[in-house]
Amino acid sequence: MEGKSDMSNVLELLVGELASGAVEVVDLTFTLREDSPVIVLPPEFGESAPVRIERISRYDASGPSWYWNNLSFGEHTGTHFDAPVHWFTGRDLPCNTVDTIPVGRMVAPVCVIDVSAECAADPDFLLTRARVEAWEAEHGRIAAGHWVLMRSDWSKRSGLAYANLGEDGAHTPGPDAEVMQWLVEERDILGFGTETIGTDAGQGGHLVPPLPAHHFLHGAGRYGLQCLCGLDQLPPRGAVLMTAPLKIHEGSGSPLRVLALVPRAG
Amino acid sequence: MAAAPKGYDGVVITTPVTVPYTRYSPEGAAWWTGRALAELARGAGLASHREIDGFVYSSFSSAPDSAVGLTQHFGLSPRLVDFVPLGGMGAVASLRRAARAVQMGDAEIVACVAGETNGIHSFRHGLENFSRFSQDGVYPYSSGGPNVSFALMAAQYMATTGATREDFGKLCVAMRYNALRNPNALMKKPLSLDDYLGARPIAPPIHLFDCVQPCAGADGFLVMREETAKAQGLAFARLTGGIERYNGFAEDPIQLRGGWGVDVDTLYAMAGVRPDDIDVVNTYDDYPFVCMLQFEGLGFCAPGEAPEFVRAHEFTFDGSFPHNTSGGQLSVGQAGCAGGHLGVVEVLRQLTGQAGPRQVKDAKLGLVSGFGMINYDRGLGSGAVILEQGSMA
């Protein structure tokens, strides 16, 4: 009985820590805007609609006392969540859509690998297994069920520099194939997240297999997060992510508000 | 050649009435028309205006009423009604129709009335809605209305005949001289030739004093058999000749003559007189050069020679060619269709000795001409009547 009562105290303790600032809530989400960049695919493929925010009324003739908008967007716009069904490798898995993902997985610890210096030097920087092992040497082994976020500081860019489109496609950092397979199979991570427009590198379509983050994550029922920001406010480990996508019927992903609970050293 | 028209034997015209004009009026056309009708009944000594059994009506501003609707308004029960909203041709047309009706026994006493109101925006509305061709082909071109159309004609008339603004001015100055002896005239100030020449341009060569002033007003007269007039003891004039023509000389590229030339011989043949015999003339003077077209068209001078004719005559009531002795529309005002009746009423006054201080001495024979309906680029209507002083004997 006492053990149970201790467990219920956990939330009480958390509320107290939140109030005191010992635990901080950090927003890792871009504002959902109409000029938010969207993934660019060769245009013979279907294209995602951009974010559109259309005013219904704003204390005007269409609604004298109230303000509201119509909102439309592709599932993969803004700071968003990729469900396993998004990729062909995850198409047959159970609970692979945003409406069926167990909610328990929407609160999970996070490891943050800071490669911002490398990305500043090379926009096509690829995260490798060696680089992650080096991180583990410093911060300890990545435990099962953790999110792994790749901090590139890419979110500090905007517009043209953020999309960074060249004549041969986007040039943005991401993971290589080996590290993705390894993180999924050897470290059993919950998911992988980036600050860029995809979980994969801009040139990730030329890796083997193409777009390996999508390939391995979703093929194993894991999740993706992209267009994150504020990763520089997270410790390498010790924070907890809250990632609840919209409950879209058979949805492959959705924009979401990503929050992190971050313990602050007294 | 059509057969010569029969004469208007036994038909006379009496009882000239004018409801004094005002620049603007808040009243409707029925108000003005009804007042003229009352004056006609009173002037003719009728026991009741209901004795009038023919009603020939001219108006541009009576909408939505026509002559028929107004019979109920006025409590009339006529056996002849006609609606002739023909502007400058309204009086001549009314008189000819009324005369035939009386002559043939279709009516006993016919009231010919023009009644017109004038609101602040009536003139512009009139321009806008005057005619389909005007709407499509004139009003969109500066909305100058008749001023622009007549300016285009007047300019060419001057270029062709050598007429000058002084010639036009001479007619206008004479009319103002006459008007100062007509208490009903709206224009009360003398006009000098310098005033005329110095006026501001409206659509050159048309200047301010070439233009009539639109106003509200009513004019009327009665048409009846001679014995009826005598029985009532009314002074009268006989109708001895009358012509009308519409869209005459349609092939002329620009109107430098009205349709009178087609029918003028008929007019004088009916009346058995020559132009020289006429003692008093009333032309339709919406612009002074139009008077000159009438001098030419009605044989007072040869075509193209009106400038010389104007220079050779004096046009005051006491001059060598008494013309528009009321002051004309140019000095009395243009009450829409009543503008057309002004001439008949004035000549009737002259021939019956009722013209007061502007009485033309020994006026026995008068001519009234009509003109008008500038549908597009020219006046479509032209006509004239000759009236002869009647004797009570």
Binding site: E34, P50, G159 | F123, V138, L152, R200, P253
Partner: protein, 414 residues
């Protein structure tokens, strides 16, 4: 009598902006036979099919033989000035503000005499060149110009009211990613446009043509996305008061038949770009254009849509795209009536398939950027309302005029 049309000074903020007035807009139904010819820059007169008599104003019935078979026929745009005047104190404020207004009576070479707006420099007896124009009310009127080519009609303020010349005006090109933009900019510069603003949607994507405009005076590149409420609002807030001509280049070509899978979303996006985008811009910008319809000698003047002729009959294989253009066309006709309140013209250019890269597989002839640019400047400088660009559009228009059902069947089988 006339003076060159100099670049107007900047606005004096202490002086009230003139509100737009228009000349009389009332016409008989028959008179609108002239409207179509004027809208397309043709000089034509009503002619009796039975006896050949040419008349004016337009009648319901022939004055020579009373046949009701009246149709417009091409006519010689020539005549002689019979007489002239100028209205110094016209009744309507539109004309009174612009007085003196020169008017002439013209003997047309083909028969009738007509009252016409007159260039001040024509003498009575002189030969004139006739134009059938649309006035500030959007109604067809006749204009008599000197026959000599040396006279610059832009020196006559009346003429300037009837055209939407780019001279001294500030132009917005709504989507500078349109393939014809470089040609349009060049043509507008040559026509004397004072400023050309290039709207670039999705500013996060590279605008690779930007260097083409380096060093061209008066060209400004700025973000504008017609599919975004905010972006359009931002443009209108910044430049609504200084935009006199809008060139709407919104387009988005994607192939697809109605029953082909996967064509609905692209069709929806095309609708968003081609139809709703301009409508959104009109909502934000048109009130300012209307309000500035009389704002000085280089007042707001025109809105030009680059439409496809397939707005009128769908292009096989491009159902969604054709439908979007049809929708844009329908919107444009509604917008035209609203813009006319300020005397602002709505001009539709109709072209066949263009050299837009998305028409790669279409067989030539295709409309290139220079042809579109020429069409835009022609329509503006002549004050046209409709212009077909290129042989495909011209031919399709003729076929549609003759028998739209035949066109429908023929396109359906092609």
């Amino acid at each position: 009598m006339t003076t060159p049309f100099e670049r107007p000074k900047r606005k004096d903020p202490l002086v009230r902006t003139e509100l737009p007035l228009t000349p009389p807009g009332g016409r008989s139904r028959a008179a609108h036979l002239l409207t179509r010819a004027a809208a397309r820059g043709q000089f034509a007169l009503p002619r009796c099919r039975a006896c050949g008599t040419v008349h004016f104003p337009v009648r319901d019935i022939c004055p020579n033989c009373l046949s009701t078979e009246i149709a417009m026929a091409p006519a010689a745009a020539a005549g002689t000035l019979l007489s002239r005047t100028q209205a110094e104190v016209p009744a309507l404020p539109y004309f009174r503000e612009r007085a003196p207004w020169h008017v002439g009576l013209v003997q047309l070479a083909d028969g009738p005499q007509v009252i016409a707006h007159l260039h001040p420099e024509v003498a009575v007896g002189a030969a004139v060149r006739m134009h059938l124009k649309l006035d500030k009310a959007g109604q067809a009127v006749l204009y008599a110009a000197p026959k000599t080519a040396e006279v610059d009609l832009m020196t006559d303020p009346k003429w300037r009211e009837m055209v939407a010349h780019p001279l001294h005006r500030r132009v917005l090109i709504t989507d500078a990613r349109h393939f014809a933009t470089p040609a349009i900019v060049k043509a507008l510069k040559a026509a004397g446009a004072r400023k050309i603003r290039l709207g670039v949607p999705e500013a996060w994507k590279p605008f690779r043509e930007a260097p083409l405009y380096d060093g061209i005076e008066g060209v400004e590149i700025l973000p504008l996305d017609l599919t975004s409420d905010r972006s359009v609002f931002d443009y209108a807030s910044d430049y609504g008061g200084t935009t006199e001509i809008v060139i709407n280049t919104a387009d988005r070509v994607r192939a697809g038949q109605t029953l082909q899978p996967g064509t609905l979303l692209p069709a929806q996006e095309m609708m968003e770009h081609i139809a709703f985008g301009p409508m959104r811009l009109a909502q934000a910008l048109a009130p300012a254009l209307i309000g500035r319809g009389a704002d000085g000698p280089a007042a707001a003047a025109a809105w030009v849509n680059l439409l496809s002729i397939h707005a009128l009959a769908p292009l096989p294989g491009h159902m969604g795209w054709s439908a979007a253009h049809a929708a844009a066309h329908a919107f444009s006709q509604g917008l035209r009536a609203e813009l006319l309140q300020g005397g602002v013209k709505l001009i539709n250019l109709y072209s066949g398939p263009t050299e837009d890269p998305w028409f790669q597989t279409m067989i030539p002839p295709k409309v290139n950027g220079a042809a579109l640019a020429r069409g835009i400047v022609k329509a503006l400088t002549e004050g046209l309302e409709e212009l077909d660009i290129g042989p495909v559009a011209q031919e399709l228009r003729e076929r549609l005029d003759a028998n739209p059902k035949a066109v429908e069947r023929e396109l359906g089988q092609s």
